[in-house]
């Protein structure tokens, strides 16, 4: 996009354009979210940065539109339609990614609401807004299930997180399956990584390598952005 505008001599107006890096980072984040059931850490900084720049860009497009309308005859040779088109398209792409990212997270958070509320580590991975949503969602679901099913069962079966109170374990909390196989691509050299449960077998993972492997074995790499799910 910079090239297109460069040939038009408009590059200086773009200034701090939403750069390729953030786009790449956000697509990676989205891909990771979609490819695993794990609740990954919320990317506060990235989302905030993208959101802020998106707003700036949208304001800029507006000013261009205004300029296009009010241009005096001698400036009529400045055609604003191409930059406006490019910028809007770019904004749309970012907006889609951002929304898809939130959507993907929200659906997982709703699915594993009980687990998240039970587990402080997972709570730290969610943004405050998501956590609030998680809680409210759980209340709504719990209320409905209680009214329709649980309240009409014999007393010792009325809990939602256990099959019955006679069993010790909380056996009815759905948890993400971390042992599913995923496709993963290394972004940097990860050194020797254990690829079996005992940690006996090591594989030297290099940048650019692609593996099909159980998610939990590369969980750390994905969380640290050394690898990305594809």
């Amino acid at each position: 996009m910079a090239d297109v505008l460069g040939s038009l001599g408009q590059t200086q107006d773009l200034g701090d354009d939403l750069d390729q890096d953030d786009f790449q980072l956000l697509s990676n984040a989205l891909r990771n979210e979609r490819n695993t059931q794990d609740i990954l850490a919320y990317k506060h900084e990235l989302v905030e940065r993208v959101q802020q720049r998106l707003e700036e860009q949208m304001a800029r497009v507006e000013t261009w539109k205004e300029a296009g309308k009010s241009s005096r005859p001698e400036e009529a040779d400045v055609d604003w339609s191409v930059p406006i088109l490019c910028c809007t398209l770019n904004n749309n792409r970012f907006r889609y990614l951002l929304k898809a990212y939130w959507r993907a997270r929200l659906s997982k958070i709703e699915r594993y609401a009980t687990l998240i509320l039970d587990n402080e580590e997972l709570q730290r991975n969610c943004s405050p807004k998501e956590l609030n949503h998680c809680l409210q969602y759980f209340v709504a679901v719990g209320k409905c299930l209680k009214e329709v099913v649980l309240a009409r069962l014999p007393e010792e079966f009325q809990t939602l997180v256990q099959e019955s109170q006679l069993t010790e374990a909380r056996d009815m909390i759905p948890a993400p399956r971390l042992d599913r196989c995923v496709f993963v691509r290394l972004l940097q050299d990860a050194g020797h990584v254990a690829v079996d449960a005992e940690g006996q077998q090591l594989v030297d993972m290099k940048a650019g390598d692609i593996y099909i492997i159980q998610y939990k074995l590369v969980q750390r790499l994905v969380q640290q952005d050394i690898a990305v799910l594809i």
């Binding site: 398209l89 929200l106 807004k129 969602y137 209320k143 409905c144 299930l145 014999p154 009815m172």
Partner: protein, 213 residues
């Protein structure tokens, strides 16, 4: 007693026979029968327990529970658990579908609403409120997440009217939608119209495999 937990299973089968974007009518009768089945299991368990207590009180030395009694109790216990799970699955699946409707259709269609029980309608309203809060500008992310579900390809899309909707207000002005007319409108504004069936997307191919939606 019919086959164990068969009624609850029928509930699920009935729900499954409806496509995943519609609900089956809430089967009050079958749910009630399932609960009575659970109560029966429970009553029989309690009867066995009180029988054992009585014997203990009468001074009989605490004997080992014989195999038949133990098996019977286990079976009743497992049946209650199974019925409970099946009922929860039934409700969970129904709530999932209600949830999906909130995402795709914004409002609960009347036909589906008629098939819900009171608690489910309550759940839908609750969920709708919770989701709106998350998407609101004041307390949430400030964007409507139910839009932009497809990656953007172009600024504008061509749509064909499916019914006479009259004039609609779009960002660039007004447009009249009549059956069969095609107009080009901004992609993000086309989405709600496509969803509620006012227009359909016109797919066209420029010969290079582009522009396919």
């Amino acid at each position: 007693m019919s086959a164990l937990a068969a009624r609850a299973r029928d509930l699920l089968k009935e729900l499954k026979s409806y496509s995943s974007d519609t609900l089956s009518p809430y089967n009050e009768e079958l749910v009630r029968l399932t609960f009575s089945e659970i109560d029966e299991h429970n009553a029989q368990t309690e009867a066995i327990v009180s029988e054992m207590r009585r014997r203990q009180q009468e001074g009989e030395e605490p004997q080992q529970v014989d195999e038949v009694t133990a098996t019977t109790m286990c079976l009743h216990y497992e049946c209650i658990k199974r019925n409970k799970r099946l009922l929860l699955i039934y409700m969970n699946e129904r709530m999932q579908r209600l949830r999906d409707m909130r995402w795709t259709q914004r409002a609960l269609p009347e036909t589906q609403k008629a098939r819900c029980c009171q608690s489910e309608i309550q759940f839908y309203n609750d969920y709708s409120r919770v989701l709106s809060t998350y998407m609101s500008r004041a307390e949430g992310v400030g964007m409507d997440l139910t839009l932009d579900t497809k990656p953007p390809k172009d600024m504008a899309v061509t749509v064909r009217g499916l019914k006479d909707a009259g004039e609609v207000v779009l960002s660039y002005g007004r447009a009249t939608i009549l059956t069969g007319t095609t107009i080009s409108i901004p992609a993000e504004e086309a989405e709600p119209l496509i969803r509620d069936g006012t227009v359909e997307l016109v797919e066209w191919d420029d010969g290079y495999g582009r522009n396919k939606q």
